[in-house]
Amino acid sequence: MLNSRRLVLAHFWLAFTVFGLALVLGAWQMFIRSPLHTWISNPEWYYRSLTAHGTVMGYVFPTLVAMGFGYAISEVSLNQPLIGRKWAWAGFWLIVVGAVMAMIPVALGRASVLYTFYPPLIGSPFYYLGVVLVVVGSWIWVALMSVNLHAWKKANPGAPVPLPMFANVAGSYLWGWTAVGAALELLLQILPVAFGLKSTIDAGLSRVFFSWTLHAIVYFWLMPTYIAYYTIVPRAIGGKVYSDTMARISFILFLVVAMPIGMHHTFADPQVGAGFKFIHSAFTALVALPTLLTVFTICASVEIAARMRGGRGPLGWIRALPWSNPIMLAVAFSFVMLGFGGAGGLINMSYQLDTTIHNTQWITGHFHLIFGGAIVIMYFAIAYDLWPHLTGRAMRDLGLMRLQLWLWFVGMIVTTFPWHWVGILGMPRRMAYYDYTDPAVAPQAVSVMLSAIGGFILLASGLLFIVILLRAQRAPREEAGLYRFSAALHPPVAVPALNSYALWIALMVGLTVTNYGFPIAQLALRSDTSVPAVYVGANP
């Protein structure tokens, strides 16, 4: 059952529209700071663009995808009309209003603080209020997912929650809780200063608050992709999910261990001591577990599909896969990028190796590869898979879809590999220009140029994606049939501890309190480390 089509389509269209706009900014940034362009005469424009690009790509775009997909999952997998559709629209409009409210001061140069905020830099209060509205809109979605699940559970006592909904709700709870860190930072620290009620701020404390959000938000971005791996890919290529239980364990692990590890973002910070840095580092290692489990289960599921199609031999089955199917192509590319990105991630999380690449262009290269690459390519796949069911129209541009995915994959490799490399050479991030005539910087010029070329390939792919969606919207009407998620090879009969969340939420909150409570309390009680706010754009 997919009744709320307009609602889901509205989320997807808004998501992909803002994505397209931010992509143009991304390509512009790449060009401006590369040797292909002379120094930008007013660097301030670069930081406006960077704030807009980061805010949209980090907060607005993935949140809308998760929400739209979440509503579809709730209706389809529970086979139950969405409860609270009016509220869902309210959440959507809050995001629209919030995004516009945030982007106006950014465009005017009154909030060039970048999406990480980092006080004591302080921009226009409307920028932060806009971000808060986006988060509040998404919290409505979190509540609705919970309400819908509970209504279904009441009607189906004891039945295992369908895997897509189980994962979706886990993701929503994770987001609900992880957003609290930045929300506390905004409400307790930044907004009072932005409104002029207070004039000083503790930068160390705000970095710790932000790290609470900054890590697990990554897993929120990743949730739709993992849900698609487990519940769309096997069906789309004619196979089954190898293990339903392992899938549930993976999602629960994300819920529990994604949170209490965020202080790995403060390894290089002076305001956190060795003890908590090490604890967070050790917990960070744990979060690799659900990904390792997922890689195994998905590879096994894909192999099952190949063997069902007559594939043979230890590796010969790979040839039997439906390579002309865009979903197959997307998941293969996604896994390759996940592999490279994951290897890079092991370096970032390492207590010792981190210092060689901390805050260099390696980091921007890394998260574009994982987030823009492995994750976003599956957002494309989700849209391609759902679109005929949302629009009631045929989707016939298979060739264009394959081309689009190839371009995104190739573009991502061309963009991010040299991006990593200049990071190793020590190129700092977030700079409007670099002096490539300096003999110490000159060796980086070629790599940056390559990245910029990759950026244009990505831009072409992103625009092609939007064209494909638009064309499908105008295609002839065609009944797409019932939308289904993948079936499990061995469907679950009873899933005792893996059917509800109370225990896991308690663990998530408990671990956050043990891993964050003391450092936050200690920093909050300190009075002599605050600095006066530095207002951005105050004197144009």
Binding site: A282, A300, N359, G426
Partner: protein, 187 residues
């Protein structure tokens, strides 16, 4: 064998394979965390362990980070301490001198916003957060020059915030430091 039996048997095999993989995954993770702990205990490069605070608004007026005290100081035990301040949008001193093959400690802080402290070609890389002192032990193998950019966005002048670190021969450094209490290479 009935299809049902066959199914049950298959499910059991699937579970066994899966359990093996899960065990292997956990082993990989334990080895990784263990390696980090081992390297930590044996004093490989380590993130800063101790939290040291400083009142950011008065660092120019008194104490360790007054202007006259910035630069490299030869310590009685033969090591060198380099004190620096990062502010919008420069480092003081703009050019730092250190001797090669000598234990060096960088101590730095910021009076205004968050800055970064990264010496290219080394693994010296930390944050300067107002209110806190960053301390990094280091040792440079060879004489040479390194660029030192600020690696965190600190405002519209961030792209211009670069300093230099000059590594000189130990004897050359000692001559310099016999003439000046604090050594820099600012011209």
């Amino acid at each position: 064998m009935t299809t049902q039996d066959h199914d049950v048997e298959e499910a059991r095999v699937a579970e066994r394979v899966e359990r093996r993989w899960a065990t292997l995954s956990i082993a990989i993770i334990v080895v990784l965390a263990g390696a980090a702990a081992f390297a930590g205990i044996h004093q490989a490069t380590m993130p800063q362990g101790r939290v040291e605070t400083i009142q950011p608004q008065i660092i120019h007026l008194s104490g360790e980070f007054t202007e006259a005290n910035l630069g490299s100081a030869a310590e009685p035990d033969g090591s060198v301490t380099v004190r620096a301040v990062g502010q919008q949008y420069s480092f003081t001193p703009q050019c730092m001198v250190v001797p090669a093959d000598t234990p060096v400690v960088f101590r730095a802080t910021s009076p205004d916003v968050v800055h970064g402290f990264l010496i290219q070609g080394t693994n010296i890389n930390t944050m300067l957060v107002p209110g806190y002192v960053s301390e990094i032990p280091a040792r440079f193998k060879q004489p040479g020059e390194h660029l030192m950019p600020c690696q965190e966005f600190c405002g519209v002048g961030h792209e211009g915030m670069w300093a230099k670190v000059k590594v000189v021969d130990r004897t050359e450094f000692l001559t310099m430091s016999s003439k000046n209490r604090r050594v820099t290479c600012v011209e």
